[in-house]
Symmetry: C2
Subunit: 307 residues, 2 copies
Amino acid sequence: MTHILVATLALLLLLTSISAQDKTIAERLGYPRDAKLLIVHADDLGMAHSVNAATIKALESGLVNSGSIMVPCSWLSEIAAYARANPQADLGLHLTLTSEWTSFRWGPVSSRDKVLSLLDKDGYFRLTETEAAAQADPKQVELEITAQIERARALGIQPTHLDSHMGTLYQNKALFELFLRVARSQKLPVRVAKAWFSRADFLPSVLTQDDVYIDRVLDINPTVAPQDWARFYSDALKKLEPGVTEIVIHLAYDDAEMRAATADHPDWGAAWRQRDFEFFTSDTFRKLLQENQIKLITWREIAKLIK
Amino acid sequence: MTHILVATLALLLLLTSISAQDKTIAERLGYPRDAKLLIVHADDLGMAHSVNAATIKALESGLVNSGSIMVPCSWLSEIAAYARANPQADLGLHLTLTSEWTSFRWGPVSSRDKVLSLLDKDGYFRLTETEAAAQADPKQVELEITAQIERARALGIQPTHLDSHMGTLYQNKALFELFLRVARSQKLPVRVAKAWFSRADFLPSVLTQDDVYIDRVLDINPTVAPQDWARFYSDALKKLEPGVTEIVIHLAYDDAEMRAATADHPDWGAAWRQRDFEFFTSDTFRKLLQENQIKLITWREIAKLIK
């Protein structure tokens, strides 16, 4: 009898434990398992005035509800002033180790001589994420991203999350491990999606039960023709699966500054960003959210799950 | 008889020597003593795309014929590409130790930990030239301006002259001495005018016979109302004295980027720069040059006087 009781208790305990582990991120956030939860996230804040202006306007529409900031860029001060004036805004840091345009460039926040592995021959961050990841000394990466977080905080930005410009910090296990270590020490969630586990198999081995990650990240890509832009996003929203999705977008105006910045680089260029701006501040997008019962959530909510 | 000969020769030698010393800069350049020679010089290249675009257009008009580049700023690469493609352009370096706008900022080219005296609490150059000069350790200034020259040369810019953004390097004798020492080692002329000797009495004590300096520098100032802009410049050109004058102007378009950059700072702001652009690319300016027999010369010509 005692044996049966002990066995039953053990089974119950096991089932409870499995069920806790199996709780989806949606459920942990207090939503039904089948809720469609969306973060509409604008990258690259601080990069240029055009990016700041378009993203601030989009944030004010309420339809774009999150964004992340590039600390090494010249226009950081403008977006830091916005962050101080709008402490409720869901702003994270877009940790930056690349400087991808050729007409305007940026470099490290930390002392150059301490992060030489991150620099190209001209003293700027490297042009591509693959080159950056291949050359980077992980200790120097840790120094630099910590310096970026410290500068942001010194300017009054209270980041709600961290991600990585051009995905440099996801390029290999060593970089992702240190990224996660820095994020844990800051008690901040990191852009990681369960859907990535199949294409970056080091991810599940580095993540623990205590780390919080979302279900999937969506973004548009250069194979979509400009005239198919709205259709791509509409289809994605109509087919949105339950759980937490982040849609990563790039906002700016198709103006002189942005055209010059991205002149030799139409992908993620000025016209691309104007198209993103137009779709994500449109009534079409607002209606798609309503018609498909999609609820917007923020990284701030996700951050509360971190112990 | 021999005595008379020796005395006559000595007198002749003395007169020749006095006459060499007394040669004006105009004469040393091969022009008549009463020639009216003008450098039309646009400052702040590299600071923003708007500055680069307007200045390149003005240089192409031929009416603006010189400019100087801010190496620490993000848009350096765009103007460096122009300099490489136009090696005849009269481009110098606008050595930069201040970051005067509040919505976008920049910092040193050298390692931060080696130039801490040049930085504000946020890690950028200081906002004003007086603050920068008061706090700057001259050794760190020398390190930083040398690094700026080296970066410019590494990017293929062959500077024809040096000057100092916001005049920081003219704020005191120690800074000016080191500026001149760096310029001499680079065999480059520096923006210095004889007309400044009365207001900065350390200048003549630091300059030697081997240094080359011009007669005067003209610029407009915030006391001139926008509607009096053209009249101010027209009057200055009509009254232009013989010798070498540099007119220092600030070009950009009154566009979104420039308005945001200079939002809290109308002096030298976006509208100011658009007015400068309009006047110095106008037929009015072209006619004033012709009617007043003003000849445009460059720093490249002046640099040839340096031994």
